[in-house]
């Protein structure tokens, strides 16, 4: 065993423990100072950013009743709505339940591909107006590989997937990332540490607070724009369709949660499966440059941390420039490359001149669907503060797009997938089979019960002991240890959607990690075991569900938060959120469990205020699945669902999101109506206090909506008030801009308790208002 390259042991950061358990209040980020600014809704570039939620917010595109949204249609391949018809959905899907989140999860765990390019390539692409260089150019196209990708699983059966994707990531593989995700998260906040990569924010996610902030921004934007755009949306009666309340904001929340998976020792999803090495044809000596970049990645400054396997696939790309380059020469170089590297190379022909929107065949560079929350925040800020209202997104010629699509398709179909299949087969044979066989069992037994294994439990860990491969000081397995390889095998098969093999491997790993007391790894294996069991399409008996999956989820969430020295609430949240969505798909009997995990998220305090409201909504959605049977709706959970919908409405109201609150309240009334029946068109609610509470909430939400609209019409001086509004509301409308302005200065969500105004205050504001008139 060679000595560790990274000899300095990193002490566990105890100081961060508190900070990472309790969600930071997010004052540090510069974004918070900007949240208070009202949106200029005329900014088209900003609108593009919020498209993912604002164009869908009224109604989901899949539902039949959808009113067609006039929003400029995004390219069909990239819009999230077009993925609804996924393959491999559990057959027993209930009517009205879409497997949207299953597909989302499937698309979240995909191979990562590192991108390195030489200086000439980067300069050329910057010249096209793309600041982020080759990586930014490639990224959007990796998210969906055009055409179907056929994957052979471990038993030799082939299956085609239309929605396979890869993630292009920067070459600085977590170079600023310390061994623990907690510290990584802190380094995100610390500007001094991120400076060395580039001006661009780190594309690492895993920060719940940032996710919340992004979603909050979207909500705010929606709130402000929907009021002016069409007042029809909020008033629209909501029918009782359970999918009506799977809001685009929740989808966004989950997607941001799963974007930019951090590079950590205990899971290998973010570890590169391959790396693209690009050299420009302008380079005088491409072969030499390839060699240099390869060495840089292998031993030089781009070397990944010691727990990442460095033996991944290298894919060589010669970037040919159409205008000035000599194609004959490029072809010659490329032929040479082909002889050397076989299939793992490509000639990418790009145009170098800058493209403007008015050009003939120019196409807007698509937005990344899977950018991390930090990136999106930075983007939003940048566009808000920018003075010009033109869209800064670069345009590229269509021929480039075709070239890149072909390149990505070839890269995935001919190199990455076969390579992963090969790895899975080899490891399955060499490592897993041996571990599973008689001798493997014996090995692991002897490992556990060895009489000389005194060092296992003693305080001097790791290096000397031959019994365990776990380096408990630094908290990882070396990449060549059988456990690490098995974890990789399991992750690969998860990414290749071979759930069965993944499940069995994770299950073995779980016991191994447990014996080694590698808690973070153990939690990871338990999490993924539960997920792969739930992802598989076969039917699950309720017995396996309660006996295995529930315990796995429980173990994972417990070990992620409580057992480890440094808690990882992000992972616990991921475990619970994903398993609740998958359980929810499994019909009525699992819905209770789903709801239980959702309430667990709330109880453990894993989320901030926005997440709190979203997950409360989700509990309601889980319960709403159980509709009961027969005329008496036996075994239904409609009352529970309605209760949580009311809670969600209240939570949204407290956050100052009137549209969301109203939607939840409508859902709640629909559920109460479905349960208790109607009385002259009015929903029957048995308890008088409940009626009062709901009525009051509705009034308050109405007031809030008025006050937001009041802000909108600020410039329009005294806009006439609608007739239907009662006198009390009129007053609200008049004074609200002022009130709102004040609350904006404080950057607090406006907690407008209109009902609770004291007469004194009331008078004061009256006077204030009068003064306003005379100005």
């Amino acid at each position: 065993m060679n000595p560790l390259q990274d000899a300095t042991p990193r002490p566990p950061k105890y100081a961060d423990l508190e900070a990472s358990v309790i969600l930071p209040k997010q004052r540090a980020s510069p974004a918070s100072s900007l949240t208070s600014l009202p949106y200029r809704r005329s900014n088209p570039s900003l609108h593009k950013l919020f498209e993912s939620t604002s164009s869908l917010a009224g109604s989901r595109p899949s539902s039949g009743t959808a009113t067609p949204t006039p929003a400029s249609a995004p390219p069909a391949a990239l819009s999230p709505g077009s993925r609804q018809n996924g393959t491999g959905t559990p057959s027993s899907l209930q009517p009205g339940v879409s497997d949207e989140y299953r597909i989302l999860i499937q698309r979240a765990f995909v191979p990562h591909v590192a991108v390195v390019a030489d200086v000439e390539t980067e300069t050329m692409i910057r010249g096209k107006g793309i600041e982020g260089g080759l990586l930014q150019l490639l990224r959007p196209f990796g998210e969906t590989v055009p055409g179907k990708i056929t994957i052979r699983d471990s038993i030799g059966a082939s299956k085609s997937h239309a929605d396979f994707g890869i993630r292009f990531v920067g070459a600085h593989l977590g170079s600023g990332l310390a061994s623990l995700p907690a510290t990584a998260r802190n380094s995100l906040e610390d500007p001094s540490r991120t400076s060395h990569t580039s001006m661009r924010p780190r594309s690492i996610g895993g920060n719940v607070a940032q996710v919340e902030e992004v979603v909050d921004r979207h909500l705010q934007y929606f709130e402000f724009n929907a009021h002016t755009a069409a007042s029809g949306i909020p008033g629209e009666p909501h029918t009782l369709a359970p999918e009506a309340n799977s809001s685009p904001f929740y989808t966004l929340y989950l997607r941001r949660l799963l974007s930019g998976l951090p590079l950590v020792p205990h899971e290998t999803f973010a570890h590169p499966v391959a790396s693209v090495i690009a050299v420009s044809s302008r380079n005088p000596n491409p072969t030499e440059e390839f060699r240099r970049l390869y060495a840089k990645q292998r031993e030089g400054e781009l070397r990944p941390p010691p727990w990442v396997d460095n033996e991944y696939l290298r894919y060589y790309v010669l970037v040919h420039e159409e205008e000035t380059g000599d194609i004959a020469k490029s072809n010659q170089v490329f032929d040479q490359m082909k002889r050397h590297f076989g299939l793992n190379c490509h000639l990418l022909r790009l145009k170098s001149q800058q493209c403007i929107p008015s050009d003939d065949d120019s196409v807007r560079l698509p937005t990344c669907e899977w950018m991390s929350s930090a990136e999106e925040l930075a983007e939003i800020q940048q566009r808000e503060t920018a003075d010009d209202i033109t869209d800064p997104t670069p345009y590229i010629p269509e021929s480039d797009i075709t070239a890149i699509r072909t390149f990505v398709r070839e890269l995935v179909a001919q190199s990455i997938v076969p390579q992963m299949e090969r790895h899975v087969a080899t490891w399955n044979e060499q490592v897993l089979a041996r571990r599973r066989g008689i001798s493997g069992r014996f090995m692991s037994l002897s490992k556990r019960w060895t009489p000389f294994g005194s060092s296992r439990n003693s305080s001097s860990p790791a290096l000397g002991s031959s019994n365990t491969n776990y380096d408990s000081l630094q908290g990882f397995y070396r990449p060549d240890a059988p456990e690490a390889i098995m974890r990789k095998l399991a992750d690969y098969s998860f990414m290749l959607r071979d759930w069965k093999l993944a499940l069995s491997t994770y299950d073995i790993l779980r016991t191994d990690f447990n014996n080694d007391k590698a808690w973070r790894h153990y939690a990871g294996a338990a999490e993924m075991a539960a997920l792969s069991a739930l992802m598989s399409t076969g039917p699950l008996t309720s017995k396996t569900r309660t006996e295995n999956i529930d315990t796995w989820i429980e173990a994972a969430s417990y070990s992620y938060t409580d057992r480890d020295r440094s808690a990882a609430p992000y992972y616990a949240l991921r475990t619970l959120a994903l398993s609740l969505e998958l359980l929810r798909l499994r019909g009525a009997s699992a819905a209770d469990d789903a709801a239980r995990w959702a309430s667990r998220i709330l109880e453990m305090g894993l989320v901030g205020p926005v997440g709190n409201a979203l997950f409360t909504e989700r509990v309601a959605a889980c319960y709403a699945i159980r509709k009961g049977v027969g005329a008496h709706r036996m075994g239904s959970r409609l009352r529970k669902a309605a209760f949580f919908a009311v809670l969600a409405a209240e939570a949204w109201f407290r956050l100052g999101k009137s549209l969301q609150a109203e939607k939840c309240l409508d859902v709640a009334m629909g559920l109460y109506g479905a349960r208790g029946g109607y009385d002259d068109g009015v929903v029957k609610i048995p308890f008088a206090q409940m009626r009062e509470f709901i009525e009051e909430l509705r009034q308050q939400i109405l007031g809030l909506r008025m006050s937001i609209r009041g802000l909108e019409s600020e410039e329009g001086a005294e806009e006439e008030v609608e007739e239907s509004v009662v006198v009390e509301e009129t007053e609200t409308l008049d004074k609200s801009p002022r009130m709102h302005r004040r609350s904006l200065i404080g950057a607090v969500a406006p907690a407008t308790d209109l009902a609770g105004l004291t007469p004194g205050l009331e008078r004061e504001r009256e006077e204030e208002k009068k003064a306003d008139h005379f100005e």
Partner: protein
């Protein structure tokens, strides 16, 4: 500990509601719900009916006759709900909200010895455990309470002027007094 006791008709209409505090270990019998908790109580009780029906019609846990006392059936955050079903499918629901200390939540849970109000808290914790709804003693106390209330309830609905079929709300002060007495005696 604070309690809310509600009687619900088969059509989910509340017929009678009574809130009270514990009278055990020096309690004064006054409920101590915060205002936000108080607002949620009807919702919690109403939503618990889903579970009541599940337990009521679900597979029987006891051999032979179906029990009237369904024990602890549901929980929302720190509110525990026990249920009793009468022969006429009228549901008695008791919502229990233990004090934070009894749940091991409060600030005094770590250093209970030093707290000034330690009289009661100390007594509670010296008995050894945190509140648990499935604790045998708790179950027994709630059962006794329900039994007493059930008896008074039968007497009330036997009143010829009380229209049970229409789901009349119980207004009788005698009944309320009896519920209060049972509460004081057992809870």
């Amino acid at each position: 500990m604070s309690y809310t006791f509600t009687i619900l008709s088969p059509t989910d209409t509340p017929l009678f509601t009574h809130s009270f505090g514990t009278s055990r270990s020096g309690g004064d019998g006054i409920p101590r719900f915060t205002s936000s908790e108080r607002a949620l109580i009807p919702f919690i009780l109403h939503s618990a009916l889903d579970i009541v029906e599940d337990v009521q019609w679900g597979p029987s846990t006891s051999a032979g006759s179906a029990p009237m006392y369904l024990k602890h059936i549901d929980k929302y955050q720190n509110n525990f709900i026990s249920c009793w079903i009468t022969g006429g499918n009228v549901r008695f629901l008791l919502l229990t909200r233990p004090r934070d200390e009894a749940l091991g939540l409060g600030p005094s849970s770590s250093g209970q010895k030093g707290s000034l109000a330690g009289g009661r808290a100390g007594l509670q914790s010296s008995s050894g455990m945190l509140y648990s709804p499935t604790n045998a003693a708790t179950e027994e106390a709630v059962k006794n309470f329900f039994q007493d209330v059930y008896e008074s309830w039968l007497k009330t609905i036997m009143n010829p002027f009380f229209n049970v079929g229409k789901g009349d709300v119980v207004k009788s002060p005698v009944f309320r007094a009896r519920v209060a007495a049972a509460a004081k005696k057992y809870l």
